[in-house]
């Protein structure tokens, strides 16, 4: 790319439906896939797409994210020119300006963007799991001579009413935005990934800031306004795996997708690596009594029990006669002898006692918190 592309990664989301997993970390920092955090995906996409200037906008519980990203070294974003810049809300003469919406988050960092001198700005969300070449997206944007390009994904018709739907003409020009429509006219869902011409973006952000009743959101305010103004807006059809992890169930599903080759998300791909901050741990060990089937296991684990159809993060110890099936076990967890776990997500650093069983197996996925374990202990069932 000759022109300069800057990515702005929105990473301030709370993700309250993920319960205790996000009590003290933002949603993009949630562990995923045995060794990653969700934000590794958009960050690695930037690296693999040749985007070397990335602003990361944080707000909710930013510390874990700031420490995790650091200088951006794992993603090759520790650079003299550009690189990664963490952008939390800051105070001005007029007071502290919290990010009210996605657009206001970008607006309040307009000075940062100006100093980057971009030609195009790519707006990304820090909590989506997908592999995407943003270079192709920007090329498409240029070819179409668009003012803004919205990346869209075909979703099943029956689910279309859960998404922000984009209606287009046959040349992929956007004619209407339909937020969670009851009767969708199309099944093209917006992925929250946009490319803007910088000048246009700057103008619309300034305008939007002056509109008092605006919610300062790209989907609700900026894009509809541009449509009214008859700006050139096109949809870019993305093909491939994409998942917005909003709930415990969908986080579990996204992990299980890694165990299913037909789901379409391949991590064993040297041409499109997902980079991550790597702890220095010894290899995993499957002991004499260990048995692992249809699963992914990370470094530092010692498996002496039975693991099937599960994703096991680093430094997990699974004792003899323990059974873990259809589950996600996050880092540093110890599972005691004879415990039996099925369809659970175990958060990091939990100790599951010997012979533990779920008291009332839920219909969905159980987040196996320390509270649940304490309740079990008090029930005297061990």
């Amino acid at each position: 790319m000759n022109e300069k592309v800057v990515a702005m990664l929105l990473a301030g989301g709370q993700g309250s439906r993920l319960k205790s997993l996000t009590y003290d970390i933002a949603k993009p920092a949630i562990p995923y896939g045995g060794k990653y955090r969700i934000i590794d995906f958009p960050l690695s996409n930037c690296t693999n797409s040749g985007i070397t200037t990335v602003g990361v906008l944080t707000q909710y519980q930013p510390h874990a994210l700031h420490r995790y990203i650091g200088l951006g070294t794992p993603w090759d974003l520790d650079r003299h020119k550009g690189g990664v810049t963490m952008l939390p809300p800051y105070a001005e003469i007029d007071g502290i300006k919290w990010y009210a919406g996605t657009a206001s988050a970008i607006y309040q960092n307009i000075n940062f963007l100006t100093s980057c001198e971009p030609d195009y700005v790519v707006i990304l969300s820090g909590d989506h799991i997908y592999k995407m070449d943003y270079e192709k997206l920007v090329e498409y944007h240029k070819e179409k001579q668009a003012d803004v390009t919205v990346s869209v994904l075909e979703v099943p018709w029956e689910e279309a009413s859960r998404f922000g739907i984009v209606n287009t003409d046959e040349d992929m020009n956007i004619v209407e935005f339909d937020e969670k429509p009851e009767k969708p006219k199309s099944n093209l869902a917006s992925m929250g990934v946009y490319v803007f011409d910088w000048e246009k973006l700057e103008r619309y952000l300034e305008e939007d800031n002056n509109i008092e009743e605006s919610t300062h959101d790209f989907g609700k305010d900026i894009l509809p306004k541009m449509l009214v103004d008859q700006q050139k807006m096109v949809a870019y059809p993305f093909k491939g795996y994409w998942k917005d992890v909003g709930t415990v169930d969908s986080l579990w599903e996204a992990n299980m997708d890694l165990l299913d080759p037909s789901a379409g998300l391949v991590l064993h791909d040297p041409a499109w690596r997902i980079y991550s901050s790597n702890p220095q741990l010894p290899p995993q060990v499957i002991t004499e009594t260990g048995r692992v089937q249809g699963s992914m296991v990370n470094e530092g684990c010692v498996i002496s029990g039975t693991v099937s159809h599960s994703v096991i993060f680093q430094n997990v110890l699974i004792d003899k006669e323990a059974v873990v099936e259809d589950s996600v076990v996050m880092s540093g967890t110890k599972i005691g002898r004879g415990a039996h776990l099925s369809r659970v997500i175990v958060p990091p650093d939990v100790t599951v006692p010997e012979n533990y069983r779920l008291l009332e197996p839920a219909a969905g996925i159980t987040l196996l918190t320390q509270d649940l374990i304490d309740t079990w202990k008090e029930s005297g069932q061990q």
Partner: protein, 340 residues
């Protein structure tokens, strides 16, 4: 009292030839995801030693690729840090550790240092040597040179003062000694020699038999616990491999597995490095498989060491013994016809 370190990565070990055609002994892969030098370097940085010289001789391409600027060991520093100090001699590297001729070539490394003492260490021993404790022992003993010795022999790690080191480098020719190891073995006057008793785990890798035995020895939980201490991690170059996949129908037991591999077949009593593929119905028993090897379906291997990038075609049967494991050289391709 403070330490600097000279890591001897140029030493020649005759018994490891099959694994050192393209690399030095120090960069032989070990324990699934490490190179031998990782253990020496990690022991040094875990003792807060920040001035580390790596003395290397050809072929050192693989070593440079592995070490880089020393980032993985936190040795990429403005002040001091890692120094890569290759010898210019065509036939660099001798059979004993700490060659004075190599040190002489980089005399400045020792002259300019602000540290009071020097660690001289080999790069083919895996252990958890605590240099802070060893230095304290050395100072208390009042000896000139202290050698670390474990239950099964010398760890080939030494501490001496920088002043004595400079004196030895300047006088080794007339004294007719080749190296620090040589000097300690000959116990040359007028120096005094002490021993630091090392009680932990260590593995000396100086022959294929030793390599094989010590590698599989890591399947013993006690050895692993002593080598991989949470408070003293072993650092290595990061590769960004995803977690290892165990597919339905695979069967892995009593094995050490690095990340990035895909296992469809049967693996027992083995060490599997990064990004290895083991095909359906293949069986591995007591094997050491290095990174990026492919073992196709229906292979049956026992007592085999496969160096990096070895490709074993389907149906190959190979069996060595614990004393004479079969060694497949880097990049080798083995067909069914070869193995019959």
């Amino acid at each position: 009292m403070t330490l600097m370190a000279a890591v001897d990565a140029s030493v020649k070990v005759a018994g490891l030839q099959d694994l050192t055609i393209h690399r030095s002994v120090s960069s032989i892969p070990f324990a699934g995801r490490y190179r031998l030098i990782d253990f020496a370097l990690s022991n040094l940085v875990n003792a807060d030693i920040n001035s580390v010289g790596i003395f290397a001789s050809q072929p050192f391409g693989s070593l440079i690729d592995h070490i880089g600027v020393g980032k993985s060991w936190d040795l990429d520093r403005r002040k001091e840090g890692l120094f890569f100090l290759p010898t210019t001699h065509q036939n660099g590297g001798i059979a004993t550790v700490g060659s004075f001729r190599d040190f002489e070539e980089h005399l400045q490394f020792f002259e300019k240092s602000r540290q009071t003492h020097v660690v001289v260490t080999s790069s083919f021993v895996a252990g958890q040597l605590d240099y802070k404790e060893m230095l304290a022992h050395h100072l208390a003993s009042g000896k000139d040179i202290t050698e670390a010795v474990g239950a099964s022999g010398s760890l080939k790690s030494y501490i001496l003062s920088r002043r004595l080191m400079l004196e030895l480098i300047r006088s080794y020719r007339e004294k007719r000694i080749l190296s620090v190891e040589d000097l300690v073995n000959l116990k040359k006057a007028p120096y005094s020699y002490g021993v630091y008793e090392y009680k932990g785990y260590f593995a000396i890798i100086d022959s294929i038999q030793q390599y094989f035995k010590e590698s599989l020895g890591l399947l013993d939980e006690n050895n692993r616990r002593l080598l991989f201490l949470p408070q003293a991690p072993i650092y290595t170059k990061v590769k960004d491999e995803p977690p290892t996949r165990y597919l339905d129908g695979s069967n892995v037991s009593n094995s050490m597995m690095a990340n990035g591999s895909t296992i469809l077949g049967n693996v027992k009593n083995s060490i599997i490095s990064r990004a290895v593929t083991v095909g359906i119905n293949a069986s591995l028993d007591s094997c050491i498989i290095m990174q990026k090897c492919t073992i196709e379906e229906n292979c049956d291997l026992s007592y085999v060491i496969a160096d990096k990038d070895v490709y074993i075609e389907k149906g190959v049967k190979l069996s060595g013994t614990a004393d004479r494991p079969i060694v497949l050289r880097k990049g080798e391709r083995v067909t069914k016809e070869d193995s019959q």
